[in-house]
């Protein structure tokens, strides 16, 4: 058991000064001798001391503005432990003060501008190498485009199909029964055709691909970056953009339009089931109306839109992957940011397309 007592401004400490009992000791000290003046600490009866015990002694010294010279009578082992564990004043790092709101806002704005500039650089590099990469296949692994096309396109097919079916189903139910009130059942085909081909198909597919493949692209590249694989490629005189990003770029450019077409077909199929089954629309009428309402322009816009979305997804994923800092935690952050940003960018681009081609 440890004890404190005071005599002639000397604090006598006895027993064990270890982590288990310093809370009690400090409370005891505050309670009994908090206001007493102390000029010396007598350690004669200290039996044992550990690192936390040294912290206790230093706290008492500090509060009374004393130095270690005020310690007396400690046996050599105790004094050596104190020597090993003592902190040295003034050398500790200063706790950083958080920036004020103006500095923060300015910093955020500047880093936003920098992000956009960096993103554009990466985009231009990627697009350049992707175009030259069509003819010049040097500098990337054989079969990598096929591999990526399977990962980004084929593997996403089931989830795209399922969601497209559900969306088509919901859209038909929601709008069909409203039209029915006015006896305009038959226009459901026109409505579905326009909304799914021009809007829902590309958008839904892009959002799924951004969540699924965009995150995979970002996390793969980010992991390569933190484990120095990207640097290793550079040191083998390879261009990481050509080796890692271009195959993904080609693969997504090829597969996204196919996925969107597939998604449109499935959604229209779901619409057909509801329309023919519950809204008294004849099968032939549904098919002919949904095809006739579409203009070539609609198909072309959808294609352009789809390719734009796919490029946004791959470039944003690659950008966040490439700029990752820190270890495993950085990879997680990069992935999250890439998904959020690419979904945001896809929706923004969609709005822009809607404005341009009304």
């Amino acid at each position: 058991m440890s004890k404190l007592s005071i005599k002639d401004q000397t604090l006598n400490i006895s027993g064990k000064i270890v982590i288990a009992n310093i809370t009690v000791l400090l409370k005891d000290f505050d309670h009994k001798f908090g206001k007493e003046k102390i000029s010396k600490l007598n350690l004669k009866d200290v039996e044992e001391i550990d690192g936390a015990g040294v912290s206790f002694i230093e706290t008492i010294l500090d509060r009374n503005k004393l130095t270690s010279e005020s310690l007396e009578n400690g046996n050599p082992t105790i004094m050596k432990t104190i020597e090993i564990f003592k902190t040295i004043k003034g050398e500790s790092a200063v706790k950083p003060v958080p920036d004020n709101i103006f500095v923060k806002t300015g910093d955020n704005f500047l880093s936003f501008i920098k992000q956009i500039v960096d993103g554009l650089y990466l985009a231009s590099d990627t697009i350049w190498w992707s175009i030259t990469g069509i003819v010049n296949k040097k500098g990337r692994r054989k079969g990598s485009v096929t591999e990526q096309a399977i990962a980004i396109g084929l593997d996403a097919l089931p989830i795209v199909a399922l969601l497209s079916f559900v969306i088509g189903f919901i859209l038909t139910l929601q709008s069909g029964f409203q039209l029915q009130k006015f006896g305009a059942n038959v226009y459901i085909a026109d409505l579905l055709s326009i909304s799914i081909v021009r809007e829902m198909g590309p958008l839904i597919t892009a959002i799924i691909i951004a969540g699924r493949s965009g995150s995979a692209i970002a996390s793969e590249i980010a992991t390569m970056k933190v484990t120095e694989e990207i640097d290793a490629l550079k040191m083998m005189a390879l261009n990481p953009i050509k080796y890692v990003i271009v195959p993904k770029f080609h693969a997504i450019t090829l597969t996204m339009p196919i996925l969107v077409a597939f998604s449109i077909l499935i959604s229209m199929g779901a619409g057909l089931l509801i329309s023919v089954g519950f809204l008294d629309v004849a099968l032939e009428v549904y098919i002919s109306r949904s095809i006739n309402i579409l203009a070539v322009k609609d198909i072309i816009i959808t294609l352009i839109k789809t390719i734009t979305f796919s490029w946004l997804i791959v470039i944003i994923g690659a950008y966040y992957g490439m700029k990752v800092t820190g270890g495993a935690e950085g990879v997680g952050k990069a992935t999250t940011s890439s998904v959020v940003t690419s979904i945001f960018a896809v929706i923004l681009a969609d709005a822009a397309f809607s404005l341009i081609y009304l």
Binding site: V18, I19, I22, T23, L26, D50, G51, A52, V54, S55, F56, E58, T59, T77, K80, T81, I84, F85, K86, T87, I88, E91, S92, A93, V94, K95, P96, T325, G326, G327, A328, E329, G330
Partner: protein, 247 residues
């Protein structure tokens, strides 16, 4: 003088799938000593350490820490034992999202009722001990490999452990830092009577710190004894290990 046994394993067998990694290991480690677990890569050194600490469940055998049979304890009881030990992982294993200061604070805040004033001082003391005064408020991603390891050591020492486990403490450190670390280990042993279990390859370090050697070879215990005994053991693999280092 009879020494207190602090860790004891009896016929410890560990497997990865069907692959036997530790084959009937029976060793004793003593209080206030530095026990070094040695062996070539892949011989099961880290596995032994992790089986002792229940990070992996041994296939069969017994492990005693502080005289208690740990494999039979429930989680709460085992946590009480863990609070009396510290572990330094190979790559530090610091929590990356918080500062070095907060990393060292975790065990102190969670397992003690110390006041903020003392906690703050203990953290700074521990970081001073490992020469990281300048890095208190940095995050682990801003530290070099060696600094991470030293910060992790400060965290392992936070609760004044009775046993310190270290998995390759000096791997990847420069010789000067490595020697400083060894000095710290010796100081902790001498001043606080701390026991250490260290997995390492570094011969220079072994010569400086080791009291006792446990040599594993292909999952089997080849030798257990003092450093001097190891050098004259007459076991070819063990002697070769020390000879290669004296080239």
């Amino acid at each position: 003088m009879k020494k207190d046994i602090i860790i004891k394993t009896t016929d410890l067998v560990a497997k990865y799938g069907d692959n036997i990694v530790l084959d009937g290991i029976s060793v004793e480690m003593y209080k206030g000593e530095v026990t070094v677990i040695l062996g070539t890569s892949g011989c099961g050194k880290t596995t032994l350490l992790k089986n002792i600490l229940r990070m992996y469940q041994p296939f069969s055998g017994k492990v005693e820490i502080f005289g208690e049979e740990v494999l039979n304890l429930d989680d709460d009881q085992f946590n009480e034992i863990l609070k009396r030990t510290g572990m330094l992982f190979q790559n530090g294993a610091l929590l990356n999202s918080i500062t070095v200061y907060d990393n060292v604070a975790i065990p102190l805040e969670q397992h003690t009722n110390l006041t903020r004033e003392i906690i703050d001082r203990i953290i700074k003391t521990k970081l001073h001990l490992v020469n990281l005064d300048h890095a208190v408020y940095l995050t682990p991603s801003e530290l070099s490999g060696g600094m991470k390891k030293r910060a992790a050591l400060a965290r392992a020492l936070a609760l004044e452990p009775e046993i310190l486990f270290c998995d390759e403490p000096s791997a990847g450190l420069d010789p000067v830092t490595s020697a400083d670390l060894d000095k710290l280990i010796i100081n902790l042993k001498n001043q606080l009577n701390m026991s250490m279990v260290i997995v390492t390859h570094e011969l220079a370090s072994i010569h400086r710190i080791a009291d006792r050697i446990i040599y594993l070879h292909k999952g089997k215990l080849l030798f257990a004894g003092t450093l001097d005994q190891a050098k004259k053991s007459g076991i070819p693999q063990v002697e070769e290990f020390f000879e290669i280092g004296s080239f």
